[in-house]
Amino acid sequence: MGKINLRLTEVQNRERRLGTIIAWNGTASDLHTQSGYQQRGSGCKSNKDGCRLCEAKGPFTQGSVCSEQMVECQAGNVRDAVLIQHSPIGCGAGQVPYNSIYRNGLAMRGHKVENIRIINTNLQETDMVFGALGKLKQSIDDAWERYSPKAIFIGTSCPTGIIGEDIESVARKKQEELGIPVIPLFCEGFRSKHWSTGFDATQHGILRQIVKKSTKKQEDLVNVISLWGSDIFTPMFKELNLRVNYVVDMASVSDLEQLSEAAATVGFCYTLSSYMAAALEQEFGVPEVKAPMPYGFAGTDAWLRELGKVTHREELVEQYIAKEHARVKPKIAELKKKLQGLKGYVATGSAYAHGLIQVLRELDIQVDGSLVFHHDPVYDSGDAREDSLGHLIEHYGEVPSFNVSNRQQYQFYGLLQEVKPDFILIRHNGLAPLASKLGIPAAPLGDEHIAIGYEGIVNLGEAILDILAHKKFHDDLKKHAKLPYKQWWLEQKDPYILAKHPELIDA
């Protein structure tokens, strides 16, 4: 593993740093073996110029997601900051979904509900020719005048990347002039094949320009790297005599400043937390809790014990574990009866999927297949305790149909035919509508915290029972909906056939 380099203004993208891939087809254990987590973590040569995993990429692709969107949903959701999108107006369309998520997230966390603060520089054709740093400066001034923010983020776009706007120098000047951090985030959609690089871009900017360099420590403060999910950590941490510092969504700039003062950093998903947690340890000495993720009994036990070790609360943790086991076990036994014989399928981001499969298996639900949007062969710390796929396989067994597909709906059809689940768990839009048309209900996990910890096992079980009732709606729809795919494609057994035989499109 290379060290994280905070001196560079641009974050190094995931495919170079971690060897991320977006297309793969096989079993979970094959992917794990080929990823060689331990080797890569110890700095083996094969990782120097990226991953050596073979990618099953074919000629056909459907629209996915870009890094800039992740910047909107992270930097755009910092409460007293403003995000400027230096782009044509189309990138600004993202303000709509992220406003809705932001408003509901604020409500869920008990903050005042208000509109998201994103300003688009509205670049036009002449700007493509002559450049538009004047407009960028103006929008920074507008942000300052309108909101008196504590920090201003600037997100780049495909066009500004191509025309080569010198955003850095404008940001530096404005930072001096305004006396607040003005932070360029490099997140051109074309720069990385996977949008999770957008998480890293945001975190890189925060680490460089917001996090305090003080040596002060708050021994009971724990950074939780999350999105907008409900507050399940405060009550949990209270029992351990710890306080939560939620970042990045819904955080204030001062919450971000004190990231360096915390006793530890945790995440609910290594896809999201990998970069920031590793950098906080490397640059600010804040230990990252390196453990399996807190899903299912095995995962949560191990995660809590490691947290206890890092924060010196071993005893409280043991008491909490014992109490919680006793509390939820009868509930889970009841749920298992109701969920008996069901087959589930998980289609979400990478590390998050590993966690969800654990919870499903804990509920005795059969999981023969999963689709993850990307795969990181290793996370930034390189520590084997974070090998979430390895942990899944070791404690919860093989997943025979394990596929990486960057939200490619046409492939999802074949995967569902192969596995024939009773329901699916999803995050991100686009796959559930297809499943519905096949009569398969989906539980959309918009609240990413729903399945975490012991209570998460119960929560997820109940969520599944709720959505199984929707099956009536989907079965009815199934009889009337027409799929957009040709018969030739619907009859293919292998959803990756075009990647293996691209010559088929000439036939």
């Binding site: 520089t121 700007d127 066009p159 839009n429």
Partner: protein, 454 residues
Amino acid sequence: MAVTKNEHGQTNSINQVRYGCAVGALYSVVSIPGAVPIGHCGPGCMDKQYTSLAFYNGFQGSGYSGGSVSPSVNAGEKEVVFGGEKRLDELIKSTLKIIEGDLFVVLNGCIGELVGDDVGAVVSKYQKQGVPIVYAETGGFKGNNFVGHEIITTAIIDQYVDKFTLNKDHREKGLINVWSELPYQNTFWRGDLSELKRILEGAGFRVNILFGGKSAGVEEWKTIPHAQFNLVVSPWLGLKTAKHLEQKYNQPYLHIPVLPIGAQQTAAFIRQVVEYAGIDPATAESFIEQEEKEYYYYLEHFNDFYAEYWWGLPATYAVVGDSTYNLALNKFLVNQLGLIPRRQIITDNTPEKYREAIAQEYQKLAHDVATTVDFVEDGYIVGKLLRETDFGHKPPIIFGTTWERDTAKALKGNIVEVGFPASYEVVLNKSYIGYRGALQLIEKIFTVAISASA
């Protein structure tokens, strides 16, 4: 280069976007039954337009070819450096193998336009083979989805309709092409277009509605040249297309700037179209009579509430939205309900040359009611203007978008979300226009008002 502020203080900055970009017109393609968009753009472009226009805007849904179905090049560094023509070519080829469609529309985005990909050359190869496919230069920096919409309709007409229509000189009296609301952008377009078609058919016409569930899809587009005339029902959107058709096929057009809401406007609208077409007005008159009977049957019963509800009803209002809906609502609220206009803001970046004529329409809302309109796209300025407005002694109704929720709350007013984005409305076939839509609109306005009262 320094940026100048306009009279409202608007700069280049846009807070709270109220439209997509030219690529957003991919949802105009999606709204034509049987048509499939293909994006020659970055990995997030199609998704952004989807989640904003088709999801968090009434949750209209992706339908047959939108959402995650739409093929996209997902351009990466390689395409930026070496060009994306080869990648587009393999995408088109594989799309034709996998996706069932009657018409494919390639939309060139910012990346393709900036690196200079010759999308036309790639697509024309397929056109020569007889594949129903067209291309449009819709780079996001070219403008918004209103602009993109007419780029796309023109592309389909020039590259597909013109090629595949038989007997282009043949005209059918009583057949009309309708150009009105922008699909998906106007949250209620589906219900509205279907009501528009119902009204025109009731008046004795045959109607090419062209978009939405009531359209016969690509087959219907092929009959565009056969129409007696084009009907543009909006202040400006569609005029470019109509003028293009006039030039191309010598097909005349009728421009009615006000989309009709309620009995008065709708009857006037029908009579104007009938007179222009020169068809026998008997069918239209008997349709109007029948519709008015039903319409006023309901209003008579609504009257008890409107005349006697003593917990207070709003008197003043503001409308924030696209020119089409903005003007239509104003005409209706003033003439049918007797409400008092206080602030009108058009947010669709109306081309400069149409603004004066639109502003004139607000000068004659009724014989005794006139008001002014502002053209603003920046949501921050919208909020500022609304907060500066004197709405009198009672809380106003704000007809706007999700962006106006905070302002409505600050003004202690009611909010009715009538345009993009409407993130707290679920919309299936709801319509606010014509006879039936007007009744639904009245229900909505006063349900919102009285449910907030206690």
